[in-house]
Every structure is written in structure tokens, then in C-alpha cells.
Amino acid sequence: MSGDNFPDFDKMTPADFEKYLPDFFANGDGHVSTDPRLQTFLKNNPDCAALVRDLEAIAEHAKSLFEPTEPSDAVWSGIQDKLKLQGPEDDELPVAQTV
């Protein structure tokens, strides 16, 4: 959505804000709370400002879920077992013994 489709930022209602919030996030690099066009509205609508801060916090903390987790040893064992059971056309595949 282009900025031209947004409502008048000075006359925007909380309902308008809620409607366009996904686009505000998508168009503003995820930083709605610092969008200069929204500062007056957010100052006058603290519940909307709180919502924005919460959603930004969730998005920010989501990055921590990128931290890798170790799979169990059963995964590698399963891979080895399945490779051993391959058909003749797959016999060229090696079966690694250690990780």
C-alpha cells in the first residue's frame, strides 16, 4: 500500500489506526512508534501507543528465536538408517558413520 492510501494522520481514529496498522508496520521497517507521521496520534491515543510498543517488542524478541537448537542424536541415526535402506539407484550415496 502506498502512503497515498493512508488516512489523514491528523484526523485518524483508533479504528482507522487499527485498520492500517499492518501496513504501517510493513512500510516502516517495523518501527511504527518512531514514524514521525504518527507521533501526534500516538501521543493522543496512549492505548494505541501501548499496542504498538507491545507489537514492536514481540517482533524484536522474535529474533531471539533464531538461536539454533540442537536436534537429538536420533535424527542422525535415522538418516544413517534410511541411507542404508536406499534402493540400488541410490547405492552410490555414502553412509557417514560419525557426526
Binding site: 500500500m1 508496520f25 507489537l55 538461536e67 539454533p68 540442537e70 534410511k82 557417514a96
Partner: protein
């Protein structure tokens, strides 16, 4: 979906993924050796990438058992197809794409038609986030616990979780997600927003969103 074609296409990598996947020492040599059937090279590639692949599966599926099965499938697929890797994108990006496509195929086989997120994986009324702003005294800012967030993400409806993980965790753009899930970018934005609203709701009511440790038996 033609997984083979999708997973082996070396498109421009997702910016977020690419930035998070710098070249790994010894990886290039291991790839070339693995192409020639070197078993130890396969072992090395597994050791280098197992955690990223497994974590991606776990986040997307929200279930340890399924995540381990899909990790296994991803590496079996990798072992069979590594000869087609031409190095036009980072190996980790290529493997990441392969894994995402396998998980999406798995979900489709389970009956989740991701072609139309609007009609098939939108949550029921009770799963949908409540449309209220909430009170300010329950702000989450600065106090989102990682474990609580993991559990909340695992308990999201599948459509919400998929878009949230791909965008907020894995760093894909909405247009990339739309291509992967065969939906509109607007739908991707909408699903992401609803996912965040639902997470906010869950995180503000931790006693109601609590799941057994390890994401076991979360409906997908």
C-alpha cells in the same frame, strides 16, 4: 507443488537469511567432497547445519517429533541432490529454502491447504486475536521472556505461526512469503499482524497459554 523444482532453484537469497549466514570455514571443501560421495564430508555438512535446519523445522511445526522427522527428510534430500548445488547462492540459503519447501509440503499433505490462507488456515473465532487495544498496565515492552515466547509461538494457529516465523524469526520479506505460501502480500501482512496480536494476548495471559515444555503435541 513441485518441490524438486522449487528447492533446487537458486533464486536470489532472502536478505535476512543471507545476512545471517556468512560463509563457514571448510564448508566449500566439504560440499565438493560430498558431491563426490565422501561420507565424512556429509557428516561435516550435517554437523555444520543440523541446528539451523532443526530450529527452522521446530519453529515452523511447533512440535519436536515432527521437527526431527523433517530435519531427517531435509538432510536425506540434501544428500540425494547435493550434486545439483551450483554455488550461485550461499549453501545455507539453498538448504534453508529446501527445508522450508519440505515443511510446506508436509503441511499440505497433512491437509493444510496453504494455497489460500484466507480460507483454509485462518483460525477459528476463538483462536483469532481479540480486537481490542488492551490496557496499558499490561505492557509487554522489555519483559518478553524467550521461553514464554517460544511456547506462545508454538501454540499459534498454523497459518499465523508460519508467517510469523518466516517474517519475524527468519527474516523473509512479505513478497517472498507470499511466493512461498502462494498467497498475496496483503494476506501475508495481515497474517503477521494477527499473529503478533495473538502472541500479545497469549503473553499477557501466561497461565492460559502455558504448554508442556518442548512444544509437545501442539496442534499443527
Amino acid at each position: 507443488m513441485d518441490v524438486q523444482g522449487l528447492q533446487m532453484t537458486q533464486n536470489t537469497p532472502a536478505p535476512g537469511v543471507f545476512k545471517r549466514n556468512p560463509p563457514i570455514a571448510g564448508e566449500a571443501e566439504a560440499i565438493e567432497a560430498a558431491k563426490n560421495g565422501d561420507a565424512e564430508a556429509f557428516s561435516k555438512l550435517y554437523a555444520l547445519h543440523k541446528r539451523r535446519v532443526y530450529t527452522l523445522c521446530l519453529r515452523m511445526l511447533g512440535n519436536v517429533s515432527e521437527a526431527e522427522d523433517m530435519t531427517q527428510e531435509a538432510f536425506l534430500h540434501l544428500f540425494r541432490k547435493i550434486g545439483s548445488f551450483r554455488g550461485e547462492s550461499a549453501f545455507s540459503t539453498w538448504l534453508h529454502r529446501l527445508t522450508v519447501n519440505l515443511v510446506l509440503m508436509h503441511l499440505r499433505k497433512k491437509g493444510l491447504n496453504l494455497v489460500s490462507l484466507e480460507e483454509t488456515i485462518n483460525p477459528s473465532e476463538e483462536d483469532a486475536p481479540k480486537r481490542d487495544f488492551g490496557s496499558r498496565d499490561l505492557q509487554l515492552t522489555g519483559s518478553v521472556d524467550r521461553v514464554a515466547l517460544e511456547r506462545a509461538v508454538a501454540s499459534l494457529p498454523p497459518g499465523y505461526r508460519m508467517v510469523f516465523v518466516l517474517h519475524d524469526v527468519e527474516g523473509f520479506e512479505h513478497n517472498e512469503i507470499a511466493t512461498m505460501l502462494e498467497c498475496s502480500t496483503g494476506n501475508s501482512k495481515s497474517q503477521l499482524h494477527k499473529a503478533r496480536l495473538k502472541l500479545r494476548e497469549l503473553l499477557r495471559q501466561p497461565e492460559q497459554s502455558a504448554q508442556p515444555a518442548g512444544f509437545n503435541e501442539v496442534a499443527v
